[in-house]
Symmetry: C2
DNA sequence: CGGTTCCTTGAGGATGATCAACGAGGGTGG
DNA sequence: CCACCCTCGTTGATCATCCTCAAGGAACCG
């Protein structure tokens, strides 16, 4: 979702700065606002009892996040945290719903956005179930490449091993060992600890 | 999504009977239709190379399925198969999109529906990552109970062990062994092979 | 009955998680 | 410039657990 920032402000949205590591909302919180990133990145994730983390999704400059619970009477299923210093617009749920009513074009945009999210989550689920670590990591890598729309060239993957682990539901050591296997298989390159795919 | 059947037919939808086990579309197919179930049940699933199956979602009488790819230029991420003899309405993508344009109320309905799906898929992902079989099965059981809106009573779970395995990404044997453990823990009851929770 | 489908149990093996330790690089402050 | 402290990457050993394979039993149905 991308609503013009000025329009949002006209409707009462306020911008707030967040420091890296600050939480925007927690799993279980009652949703009351629409959030849109002016600058920075945000990720939504879950942690289990043993502290293992699973990254559900990542959001960048210009995008909104955490909208689905605004439409259904449910609390947030995940926690949102700021990954890099950010500026985020915040608008009350009520005003956001009014905007949607006023501008049908935004409704269409939202439908498309949600469709993409559902599609992407289906793919993720499929990959996680296909248990082998290599499949999962490949899924993550292909996803990233697709999103950066540079599917035809080899690119450096800007994620740490730990982040890849959080996206795939694996442990760091497993990611490392799998990546070195994939390197010998010539699927990926590792130059100077940087991952190329 | 639930569009009045007569309205759909006015717009050119046709009803077709499907026998149990018939496929409606396959993973990778190009989406061209909107489907709504008049009668019966349908499931969407993936299979991996070893034939292991993962059930993404299940749809019952009155509901639509397979809409997200209609909005984004992607092929179906999963296969849809008929679980019980069914009658299904089928409308071309173009007409469906026209209906949405004509009746904004349906757009809102669709947003809510998609929001629910995203929510549910987030929960599923969280549970699958939380690797223990018991957690996964509990997630499945709670989900089912919630959907059947009988959260306060013990109910019989109308799924075979294999089906539970397909929903949770586990193997049948693991499901069986975990369920017997949960039985001794008094979390579930097993009467006459029927699972009560 | 014979054929399904579903449930159950056991033994064994593969593999990812866990635990522990260390190395490399980058940044900071004295 | 050097010492220290981070974060990140890496490796090895061991363990727990789920999967695999194999076999058989129970319920149901034509």
């Amino acid at each position: 979702m991308q609503i013009n920032a000025d329009l949002l402000i006209t409707w009462g949205a306020v911008a707030r700065k967040f420091k890296k590591g600050e939480f925007i909302f927690h799993e279980g919180d009652h949703p009351r606002f629409y959030y849109q990133i002016l600058e920075g990145t945000v990720k939504m994730f879950n942690t289990n009892l043993e502290g293992k983390e699973f990254t559900q999704m990542e959001f960048k400059s210009g995008h909104s996040f955490g909208e689905p619970p605004l439409f259904i009477d449910e609390s947030y299923p995940s926690t949102a945290v700021v990954c890099t210093d950010s500026i985020i617009l915040k608008l009350s749920k009520e005003k956001f719903l009014e905007i949607l009513d006023q501008y049908p074009a935004f409704q269409k945009q939202l439908i498309t956005l949600f469709a993409k999210r559902i599609y992407s989550k289906s793919i993720t689920a499929r990959e996680i179930i296909n248990n082998t670590p290599e499949t999962r990591i490949m899924g993550f890598l292909n996803d990233f490449k697709k999103k950066s729309s540079r599917e035809n060239e080899k690119i450096e993957i800007p994620y740490t091993r730990q982040e890849i682990a959080n996206y795939t539901g694996l442990r760091v050591e497993t990611v490392i060992r799998t990546l070195t296997k994939m390197k010998t298989k010539k699927i990926v390159q590792i130059v100077d600890r940087k991952l190329i795919y």
